[in-house]
Symmetry: C2
Subunit: 436 residues, 2 copies
């Protein structure tokens, strides 16, 4: 590559998939990447551009001549990928590039797609699809198909519309091949078709496609006109992002960070949670300081502070995670909050008895004072019960308030749990030490 | 439903998708479900069976006559769904059901599929696909297609094999329709086709299909013969499960629990982590007890125990989560462990300075003793640095040892962090209090 051996590079890359080339690009500097890029043929180049990671792409687009971008790549790209890329640019750039796209139809499609929010069905959909009129015959369709099909890589469904462009149903290529060429579409198409509105949230689209095992779903506007289609590969990204978001929240990261991101980006994603933890720690310090007397009487009270906070945190996060997953997979069903809480409490009771019992045995065995042993066990039991109620109710409440319930499995609630757990422990301790 | 009004129930369910019917079933008791089920036509019944949740299905299959299951449903189901269901049964049941399947070809397919592990490509694949020989003409293919296509709902690709059954490539219906009927397949098929081996792990299959945006992928054996195909809808479940597994590990749940599971199942999934936390808490108690002298001199040392453990835990989990996500999305690239660690340390340094500085200011402002103020700040800084090294190295090490790195974001490592953090804090405290 470094020796700028064109022929070799071309033959090498000719055998690779755009996604693989994009991975190589991640490792190159901008100049090398530009050189290699201009060697690619249009289709592959468009594929690579779509596969690049966002920050690499931005850096990279800046060095390419705008006419090249517009003519060679935007024209060859699927409309949804093109709209995503253009959507990330400044308004000036957008106009400049759009004015250089020779294919007016494609430019129009991109402009249409730019109107939709990224996280709705409209933002996910592409314009490339095969549309036939219900009044046509199979023969007309097959002809139209060969005309329309040039622009489209894969055909999953052929969509059937009426004269007003209203979506009527689908017809599979299989049916079309197996039917006589003179058959009318209106007699053979499949009228029951699942569709989504352009303003449907992307997570809902993902849920529908996953539930019904769909490979593609048509998108309609408010009066039922066919506007585009969403394919499963775009939705897979949504599903993964959604699942990862929960994980990030539980791990205390505010935004999508990758291990290759700069120190600054990583710090920005991490610091807010650390500051919450810090504030919580200072409040905890205050809570303990109000019980300084207990510590003076028996410093061993301090020994069990980490045990109490850790157990409260663990139980709370477990309870919250079960609810969060139930909400995410929509499997909570119609059970009432009350009966859910009751079951959670039964489980907490079992776990509480086992854990407190073990701690009681260990402390008795070591020979700690009876007062301390009994207060630690009672406090541990109370904290486990409290944390499971807290862990169950917080995500349900957040969900009702339309806040992402996964927040409840993160540092925020763990910190709250710490403070309340400490308060319970020290109050019980003070009572058994005869201070109250 | 309760009035056993057959006609109404049939017409009602005729309009519903099997996935919706399966959801209704979740809410019914076994008798009601059985009654309703026997009203469904074969295809829908098979669909519902495949969509039911595993425990519901088991309960349900027990009340149906075995001949009905075999004849009516197994025969109509996709081979992969049928194999999954039969795979969960006892050996006797398996033989009994298989012997009742009239379609010998289907029974053979199911037996073949039972050989593969659930979490490999072989376990995911189905046998239903359209296969053509490379020596045929388009006309022969189209005829063969209409013969084979009866059993298959959707055709994504037509697979091209040679006389030995070795996979040569694919041909799209589009190309077939657009080519003259006399064209030979060997001249028009697409020879570059991505495929996976039967023993490829399912997560790798998911990664490949996601990376290359594939809707279906053929599965071959070790000598390249076409054995089956995997469609994206089966892989979506794998992707979601994988992402959820990370979340569960981070939240301290050992197995896939749902909010509707019984108390016993939930307790089993939660107790192991709680016991680890408990053991950690007892070790922490021991660590603190070795520094009882510090507590006697200044009980305020105890105030900051929760701050230190919470911050160590938060930082460690953040660092680990960034690595775990990088490993999961394969985006770690070729960066060395050393340079990764260096960046992590830079970030930890920034966060450490900010957090320790804030704590220093707060403690000075409140007027705590100089010794304590300085030891808390230095300890906090050290713990943040330590936790980020620990959080980076543990998941990388686990990954090398072929253990799921997400373990590092769960209670296990948080507990380790607690203990080491306490040790650091108390040692520094002892030094500044003049005890060492």
């Amino acid at each position: 590559i470094d020796e700028k051996n064109e022929a070799e590079a071309i033959s090498l890359m000719g055998e690779l998939h755009p996604a693989d080339i994009a991975e190589i690009y991640d490792e190159l500097n901008t100049e090398e990447a530009k050189f290699l890029y201009l060697l690619l043929d249009g289709d592959t180049a468009a594929g690579v551009l779509a596969e690049l990671e966002e920050d690499d792409r931005e850096r990279f687009l800046k060095v390419l001549p705008i006419e090249v971008i517009a003519r060679q790549f935007m024209g060859k790209m699927d409309s949804d990928d093109a709209a995503d890329i253009i959507g990330g640019m400044s308004d000036e750039w957008q106009e400049e590039i759009l004015s250089h796209i020779a294919d007016i139809e494609q430019a129009g499609d991109i402009v249409d797609l730019l109107h939709y929010d990224d996280d709705t069905a409209g933002g996910l959909m592409a314009k490339e699809m095969v549309i036939v009129n219900e009044n046509w015959t199979v023969l007309t369709c097959l002809r139209e198909l060969s005309r329309q099909a040039e622009d489209i890589d894969e055909i999953y469904y052929v969509y059937v519309v009426d004269d007003d462009g209203i979506l009527r149903g689908t017809i599979s290529l299989k049916i079309m091949i197996l039917s006589p060429t003179s058959a009318k579409i209106s007699n053979i198409y499949q009228p029951d078709v699942m569709s989504v509105h352009t303003d449907e949230p992307d997570e809902e689209v993902a849920r529908i496609m996953e539930k019904y095992d769909l490979v593609a779903i048509p998108v309609i506007d408010s009066i039922g006109r066919l506007m585009g289609r969403i394919t499963i590969d775009d939705v897979v990204d949504v599903i993964r992002d959604e699942a990862e978001k929960d994980y990030q929240m539980a791990s205390g990261l505010t935004e999508d960070v990758e291990s290759n991101d700069s120190v600054w980006i990583q710090t920005r994603a991490r610091l807010p949670w650390l500051l919450i933890g810090l504030a919580g720690g200072l409040v905890s310090a205050f809570v303990i300081s109000t019980h300084e007397k207990s510590l003076n009487i028996d410093p061993a009270v301090a020994f069990f502070i980490p045990l109490i906070t850790a157990m409260g945190g663990n139980v709370g996060v477990q309870s919250a995670a079960i609810i969060v997953q139930g909400l995410a997979s929509n499997s909570l069903g119609f059970e009432s909050v009350f009966s859910r809480l009751l079951r959670e409490l039964t489980g907490a009771f079992v776990n509480g008895v086992i854990c407190s019992g073990l701690v009681f045995l260990v402390n008795s065995f070591i020979g700690r004072s009876y007062d301390l042993t009994i207060s630690v066990s009672i406090a541990l039991f109370s904290v486990i019960i409290f944390a499971s109620i807290f862990g169950t109710l917080i995500p349900l409440t957040l969900h009702k308030m339309k806040i992402d319930p996964a927040l409840a499995t993160g540092p925020f609630v763990t910190t709250l749990n710490d403070m309340v757990g400490l308060f319970i422990y020290l109050s019980i301790g003070a009572y058994f030490l005869g201070l109250v």
